[in-house]
């Protein structure tokens, strides 16, 4: 089933997919176990003349086993999840490139701070629906929204973060492969929600330098 996953192109895509696979195999095992037992019992213990049902109210030992074992597995899974989650969402590394994303009905605006590295100055530039970043560099996104809640979703990067009006939310990623990737909005945002999307263009270091020079000709 997991072969349907889009190709991962960020540093943390592999970490997320790893947790995904761990849970997939554990739940897959439990699913097969329960289904096999279910079908087996239904066949084996179907009504047969002269074979009465076993009169039993349960078994405390079994109850304890199937309480404690799942509890252990689930607690382990939350611990496994925790470290990956914290690395992605709680502790963002310093950004090599910083972009302010302004979501609105129905599109993304990408604001670059320009050569001075500061937002809200004269050399800021805004690109409608186009996000250009260099490969192998940490990109910090500062998410804002003008109207309703939107959600930045870059499937290949394994990034999803809501943009909420009235707050600025930090998200980050480091792309590992040049290419063009779609950025749909993942949160229902109105009649134009479907089709609200932008493009992420991951450039090699040299291409990115050229792109920056083209946007901000040396003054």
């Amino acid at each position: 089933m997991l072969s349907w996953l889009p190709e991962g192109v960020s540093t943390y895509a592999r970490d997320i997919d790893l947790v995904f696979y761990v849970i997939y195999y554990i739940t897959g095992f439990v699913f097969v176990l329960v289904t096999v037992l279910l079908v087996w019992f239904l066949i084996k213990y179907r009504r047969q003349e002269g074979r009465p049902a076993v009169y039993s109210h349960g078994n405390t030992m079994l109850e304890l086993v199937w309480t404690i074992v799942p509890a252990m597995v689930f607690i382990t899974l939350s611990l496994v999840s925790q470290s990956t989650w914290a690395r992605i969402k709680a502790f963002a590394p310093p950004g090599d490139v910083e972009v302010r994303v302004v979501a609105k009905q129905f599109g993304w605006e990408f604001h670059y701070p320009g050569p001075d590295g500061r937002f809200d100055t004269e050399d800021d530039k805004m690109f409608e629906g186009e996000l250009h970043v260099p490969v192998n560099k940490v990109v910090r996104l500062y998410l804002r929204s003008q109207d309703v809640i939107h959600s930045v979703f870059i499937p290949n990067v394994r990034l999803k973060q809501d943009a909420v009006p009235g707050r600025e939310i930090l998200a980050w990623f480091e792309a590992t492969k040049p290419g063009r990737y779609e950025i749909p909005c993942a949160e229902l945002c109105g009649p134009g929600h479907s089709g609200m999307k932008g493009w992420l263009t991951v450039l090699s270091a040299e291409e990115y330098r050229q792109w920056v020079e083209a946007q901000w000709p040396a003054s």
Partner: protein
């Protein structure tokens, strides 16, 4: 007939048509009323789902009804021509379709049928009471719900159409009428008002169930002799009593934001959009268990009857339901991992969410334990109960993925979630069908047709899985939920074949329900007469006539044992009703 029975019957006869069928105070009639209301809404909600699948399978293609009307009709300004221009679903209408599909299925189908219909019908009779503690309040509870039903249906016909902000109505989208981009604000307004009214109905119902179960149990019916469905309704009533007012308050605030210029959920006035999400999901997650606990209760009733075995681990079943009820209050944040809520909170909610999976696992293993060593027969109610166990296993396991914060980053707001909620919530419909096939003889005094029932089960089971299982693949492929046209996205184009497949299967799933509809309506009038206890079951409702008269019992029942004494060595038969007194014949024998 005993004297008391004759008196009860005479009282019943004296009622006029209106008192008996419309403004009835009899818990069984009110239960039937809720059942019919819920089934009508199930048809409405199902048809909405068919339209959703039509649009996703064949985006922006006119519906097959288009040819039924002339060109002039489609050029005209009738409601239909305006809502579906030339038979095509617009994005505005599509948003209304999925918002209303979910709202109707959750609030107007599952809760009314499980809690309203079966709660009402079963609670008094299974605990050995003549009626609910407050019969008039019970009647009021149903008749308060009726305007809610009418308003939610009317909302399709107001300017701008029905609510289109999702069943979750996230703000500011839902809080500011202009953001929805439709011709009028009354869709969401009526949505709020309808659910507020429904909240009052639910409040009256839950107070009544709690009081009835606490105070009106028959002699000998101790807490640990209660059937598990009664436990489920008891716990669900407490959850409803505590959770629904939170939603009502939030809906009131939303309505104020929309109508009177307050800013509870709007940042420009100092409000916070996340406040809505916290309030909504603080209600919403207990709500999920409000939906699923009764289906678990139904399954726990039916499995022992048809395995002819006591339920495995009765107390574990009760304690796990209580554990679910407590834990359900502290897991709501798992709906908000990507919302901008502090990521540290996400960690806490992961832990609680993983923990709440434990009692669900316990229940599943106990059902397996019940089947082990049984003498299992497979009439339709059993098939649907087993179907529920299978679907709940998948729905429960797929929930683990979302509980894990990093995995949720990817699958949040995708079809993976849609697959999960349908395996759980639409799986509950299997519990509903199980309950209908099982208690229909008691409710209406006639049997449903077994052959039609089995055809209904097999078609429903196959098409259900073919519809909802592939949605996992879509989700893993990154397919967002609530999008109008998947072909708007290049990365989803390779997945469109799955969408077409799902749509065909969903239409077949819908069509399979005609077997149920035909069976239900035919059996209601022409079905074989049901005996008092057609399933040879132990619980008290089967000691009353089918259908039971007003007042339920011809003689007041006394309870001697728990509800699941099947294949007990104490008696020759393989069932031992709760009311039957067994003389201790064997001296020194230990049962």
């Amino acid at each position: 007939m005993s004297e008391a029975g004759a008196a009860v019957h005479a009282e019943h006869e004296r009622e006029g048509f209106v008192r008996h069928y419309i403004f009835s105070k009899d818990h069984k009639m009110i239960g039937r009323q809720f059942l019919f209301a819920g089934l009508v809404m199930l048809i409405v909600g199902g048809l909405l789902a068919m339209m959703i699948r039509w649009q996703l399978g064949w985006p922006e293609t006119p519906l097959p009804i288009t040819g039924l009307f002339s060109e002039e009709f489609w050029d005209g300004d009738s409601w239909l021509a305006q809502t579906l221009p030339y038979g095509t679903i617009t994005s505005e209408f599509y948003n209304a379709l999925f918002s209303m599909h979910a709202t109707i299925m959750i609030f107007f189908v599952v809760v009314p049928i499980m809690v309203g219909a079966f709660g009402n019908f079963l609670v008094p009779i299974m605990i050995g009471a003549r009626d609910m503690a407050f019969p008039t309040l019970n009647m009021l509870s149903f008749w308060t719900a009726v305007p809610a039903y009418i308003l939610i249906l009317l909302s399709f016909f107001v300017p701008g159409g029905a609510a289109a902000a999702g069943w979750t109505s996230y703000s500011p989208l839902a809080a500011v009428p202009d953001y929805l981009g439709v011709a009028g604000p009354w869709g969401v307004n009526l949505w709020c008002i309808s659910l507020i009214i429904l909240g009052f109905s639910s409040l009256m119902g839950s107070i009544n169930y709690i009081t009835t179960i606490v105070n009106m149990r028959a002699p000998g019916m101790t807490w640990f002799r209660l059937p598990l469905i009664v436990w489920a309704i008891f716990i669900v009533s407490i959850l409803l009593l505590l959770a629904f007012p939170v939603l009502t308050a939030a809906l009131g605030m939303l309505l104020f934001d929309r109508l009177f210029g307050t800013h509870f959920f709007l940042p420009e006035g100092g409000g916070d959009p996340l406040l809505w999400q916290h309030l909504f999901w603080f209600f919403g997650h207990p709500e999920v268990y409000i939906l699923v606990l009764p289906a678990m209760g139904v399954t726990s009733e039916i499995l022992p009857v048809f395995a002819r075995k006591p339920i495995f681990g009765y107390r574990a079943m009760v304690y796990s339901m209580i554990a679910i009820a407590f834990l359900s209050w502290i897991v709501w944040g798992h709906h908000m991992f990507q919302s901008g809520m502090d990521p540290a909170l996400g960690t806490a909610f992961t832990l609680t969410t993983m923990i709440i999976a434990v009692p669900s696992a316990i229940k599943t293993f106990n059902w397996l334990g019940t089947l082990w060593g049984g003498s299992i027969r497979f009439p339709t109610p059993m098939l649907f109960a087993l179907g529920f166990v299978f679907l709940f296993t998948i729905g429960g396991l797929s929930g683990i993925f979302m509980a894990s914060t990093p995995v949720d980053i990817f699958i949040h707001d995708t079809y993976y979630i849609v697959a999960h909620i349908h395996y759980v919530v639409a799986g509950i419909i299997f519990g509903i069908f199980a309950a209908i096939y099982y208690w229909f003889p008691k409710m209406f005094g006639r049997m449903l047709n077994e052959t039609l029932g089995k055809i209904h089960f097999f078609l429903t089971f196959v098409f259900f899985n073919l519809t909802f299982f592939p949605m996992h693949f879509l989700g893993v492929g990154g397919h967002m939920r609530r999008i109008y046209n998947p072909l708007h996205y290049e990365f989803l184009e390779p997945l469109q074949g799955i969408n077409v497949f799902i749509s065909v299967m969903a239409l077949c799933l819908g069509a399979s329900q005609l077997f149920f509809l035909a069976n239900f309506l035919w059996s209601l009038f022409f079905g074989r007469r049901a005996s008092e206890n057609p399933w040879q079951a132990n619980t008290l409702e089967w000691t009353a006539p089918s259908p039971p008269p007003h007042g339920n019992f011809l003689t007041a029942p006394v309870v001697y044992r728990g509800p699941y004494e099947y294949s007990s060595p104490e008696v020759a038969e393989d069932w031992l009703p709760q009311t039957r007194r067994v003389e201790v014949a064997s001296a020194g024998g230990h049962g």
